[in-house]
């Protein structure tokens, strides 16, 4: 999804207003910008720098430091694999490998049609259900390798391929 610059600027303005143009809320501002725009395009970061009158380097350093932010567009469906300790001892690595094979992408990347993005997360705090895979916010607990494919397939476009 391509958003034009004017639109980005309007959205950023709205978000900044919500935070009273307070640069201390930069992390929250970036979180809201990401959830509205899908990712953090350069134009948005530039607009934040301009409107808040803070150095562009500071905006970028925060945007690249925290894991939650993406500077590239994300796929339509977001797959998160929990790699917390409880999931690890129950075989999260195998689930991740399996998802990587199915989607042919590495964690932190999206496929070229921007259908799926894959991310690992440290712990979702639902350790009793490990290993856990989350697709578009829906938790799939007690994952097994054989279950990966069918779950991912249920999200793909009719007639399309994963």
């Amino acid at each position: 999804m391509k958003i034009d610059e004017a639109q980005i600027k309007t959205k950023v303005r709205g978000i900044l207003q919500k935070f009273n143009n307070n640069s201390a809320m930069l992390v929250g501002i970036l979180q809201d910008a990401q959830s509205e725009l899908g990712y953090l395009p350069h134009e948005a970061l530039h607009a934040i720098h301009e409107y808040l009158d803070i150095p562009l380097t500071r905006v970028y350093s925060v945007a690249t430091f925290f894991k939650a932010f993406s500077l590239v567009p994300l796929g339509k469906h977001q797959v998160h694999i929990c790699m917390g300790t409880a999931c690890h001892v129950r075989g999260a690595e195998k689930i991740l490998d399996s998802v990587k094979r199915e989607l042919c992408i590495e964690p932190g990347t999206s496929d070229k049609d921007l259908n799926f993005s894959l991310e690992t997360v440290n712990c979702l705090g639902a350790c009793a259900l490990g290993p856990i895979m989350v697709v578009d916010g829906k938790y799939h607990g007690n994952m097994k390798i054989e279950g990966v494919k069918s779950i991912l397939e249920s999200y793909k476009e009719p007639g399309g391929k994963i």
Binding site: L26, V27, A68, G84, A86, N122, A126, C127, A128, Y139
Partner: protein, 618 residues
């Protein structure tokens, strides 16, 4: 619109009216709406229950409550029927009609939904008789399963904000600090610093503007007690913070919550709004003339932000890098002003201490660690969930009595406490009494309370590698010993798990660990060696097997294992279909399949799909 309260008397009057409005003859069906149970479908169960109760026309005598976390996550969705205290576990929507008809209409128990005892298989009716609950001492979690976290009235029903009234009107700030000091409460975030002392330091620090911070950036993988408390009983945390603010003399506070915890953010936000409306938070709290405001700040997903100075940097809208603490945060913290940071669980302890007194509180626990501690008991253990126990209970009691032991007839190998900063504890130390000092003595630490159980199928070298990989990804990169040390540890650990390590590598690991412990800037780097060192200390033979014999005894490290087809394979072909690399070929009906070791990527899919244990790992 909620009524604004201007004195403790008005608060008490309101509680009385809330209590008198509640029909005690009404049956309450309390369904867990914590993250774990929601994943297991409790949302749908609640909806189905409400519909079915309406359909049966018993809405006037039954209330369905979407409650906080019940803790026994393994057995979700959990349904607790009060006042009889019947516990139904693994409830699905299809069980709802029978549950309503039999229990709520006829007053009988649905046997098959009760918890079966692990040893005898006998079904247990009452929640407090299930071993998982019976052995706990639930003080902080007591009301979680009884209240709707969205409802401030539910918190008030259980005498909520009574401690606040007492602190504001019957005590002065110095008395509150003395009480918290005398209780012996130590910080539950992991450090174990005396909370009262920390408060005193911040109170005594120079400056008019002081801050209170609640750390809910629960980054420890495997720990989720802070999420649960914040989701299930947010007002208990707020009450603790307000009392702390009054004692310290702060008028502004922050709750820093991980963005990965959306329900905790939602419930905390709602709790703040309600408490403000009622005059329990904000300006002129309970008519005392004391002002205190709380803001929520969502974390950006960085483990290092659990460290106090990194968290404060992040609150200021900067990169979450820690700083050296030769000037304490109680002197110069957030915005260079005196700041007092405590963890969620620490704050939630405060109302208990004020209500019941320091003497009562310090009567629970061991000489050096008072009160209870919530642990998340996870990994290879039967009864996974949140357990609250008095300090001083043994690991054996937690894992085998509350936790029900190891599933699948496997042998216990180790328990890991303290997350990436903690260590592994072997079976010879199972009778260790759990408290801050004992855990540190054996090379681990309390941390925030994750307790991850491992069995014989977990490799301790792989686990050490897991934590170092985790930290390598999460370190901020500011100081050299941590940044470079972690990188080298990781490289060497990969070498060892690939079967290319030497004993000189093991020596190098020990040297690197010692440097990192001494010279790293913050707690992350200083404690990062703990998992590696305890793994080496207690499981050295496993390291030697990897290095000297190029063998992984637990059969985990991919480079050191092969998958093989045993003779008992009937050639069903399940694994042939499942293999992603077409490395397995069928050799005809009733003939064992054949596996091509060159094509095999050791993903383990065949092992997992085989129902006859015909795949052998060597």
């Amino acid at each position: 619109m909620l009524k604004r309260l201007n004195s403790p008397h008005e608060l008490e009057d309101l509680k009385k009216s809330i209590r008198s409005c509640r029909d005690l003859n009404k049956t309450v069906v309390s369904v867990c709406a914590g993250t774990g149970c929601i994943t297991l479908g409790s949302g749908e169960v609640i909806e189905a229950l409400r519909k079915e109760i309406d359909a049966q026309g018993i809405g006037h005598k039954v209330e369905v409550r979407a409650s906080g976390c019940h803790g026994f996550c393994e057995r979700g969705a959990l349904v607790n029927i009060l006042p009889q205290n019947i516990l139904y576990q693994r409830v699905k929507t299809q069980d709802v009609p029978e549950l309503v008809a039999k229990t709520l209409v006829e007053g009988q128990v649905v046997e098959r939904l009760l918890y079966p005892d692990i040893v005898t298989g006998k079904r247990i009716t009452r929640e407090d008789e299930v071993p998982f609950y019976a052995r706990q001492k639930r003080l902080l979690l007591e009301h979680s399963s009884r209240i709707d976290p969205q409802s401030i009235e539910d918190y008030l029903y259980f005498d909520g904000y009574k401690a606040l009234g007492k602190a504001l009107y019957a005590m002065d700030p110095q008395q509150i600090i003395e009480e918290v000091k005398a209780s012996g409460l130590r910080g539950r975030g992991g450090g174990g610093f005396l909370t009262g002392k920390k408060w005193e330091n911040t109170r005594d620090a120079h400056g008019d503007v002081k801050y209170i911070i609640c750390n809910c950036d629960e980054g420890d993988p495997g720990a989720y007690m802070d999420r649960s408390l914040m989701e299930s009983n947010p007002h208990s945390v707020l009450e603790g913070m307000i009392i702390g603010a009054f004692a310290i003399g702060a008028h502004e506070g922050y709750i820093y919550i991980r963005n990965e915890y959306p329900l905790a953010v939602k419930n905390a936000t709602n709790a703040i709004i309600k408490a403000e409306e009622m005059g329990l938070l904000g300006d002129n709290i309970l008519g005392k003339g004391f002002n205190f405001h709380i803001q929520i700040s969502r974390g950006g997903g960085a483990f290092v932000c659990g460290e106090s100075t990194a968290l404060m940097a992040s609150l200021e809208g900067k990169v979450g890098e820690p700083r050296a603490k030769y000037v304490h945060t109680s002197e110069k913290g957030l915005w260079e002003r005196p700041s007092n940071l405590n963890n969620v669980e620490t704050w939630a302890n405060v109302p208990l201490i004020i209500n019941n007194g320091a003497k009562w509180y310090s009567g629970i626990g061991t000489a050096g660690s008072k009160g209870t501690k919530i642990f998340s008991l996870v990994g290879k253990v039967r009864n996974t969930g949140l357990v609250e126990v008095p300090m001083g209970i043994t690991l054996r009691e937690i894992i085998f009595e509350i936790g029900g032991g190891i599933p699948g007839n496997k042998r216990f190998k180790a328990v890991q406490t303290g997350g990436p900063s903690g260590g592994f504890i072997p079976d010879t130390l199972l009778d260790l009494q759990v408290d801050f000092d004992e855990l540190t003595r054996v090379g681990s630490m309390m941390g925030s309370g994750a307790m991850i159980v491992m069995d014989e199928s977990n490799c301790m070298v792989d686990m050490a590698k897991y934590f170092i990989t985790f930290l390598l990804d999460e370190l901020c990169g500011k100081c050299l010993p941590c940044r470079e040390g972690m990188k080298q540890l990781h490289t060497i650990l990969i070498r060892i798990t690939n079967g290319e390590g030497t004993m000189a590598d093991v020596q190098m690991i020990e040297d690197l660990c010692s440097t990192m412990k001494t010279a790293s800037l913050c707690g992350l780097g200083q404690s990062a060696p703990n998992p590696v060192l305890t793994s080496l200390r207690y499981f050295r033979e496993e390291w030697e097997a990897h290095v000297l014999e190029k063998r992984c005894p637990a059969k985990v490290c991919k480079a050191l294992i092969t998958y093989n087809i045993s003779e008992k394979c009937p050639g069903c072909g399940l694994c042939v279909k499942a293999c992603p690399e077409t490395a397995i070929v069928s050799k005809g009906k009733k003939q064992p399949v054949e596996l091509d070791q060159i094509k095999c990527i050791r993903c383990g899919t065949c092992y997992d799909v085989c129902k006859l244990d015909a795949i052998v790992v060597k």
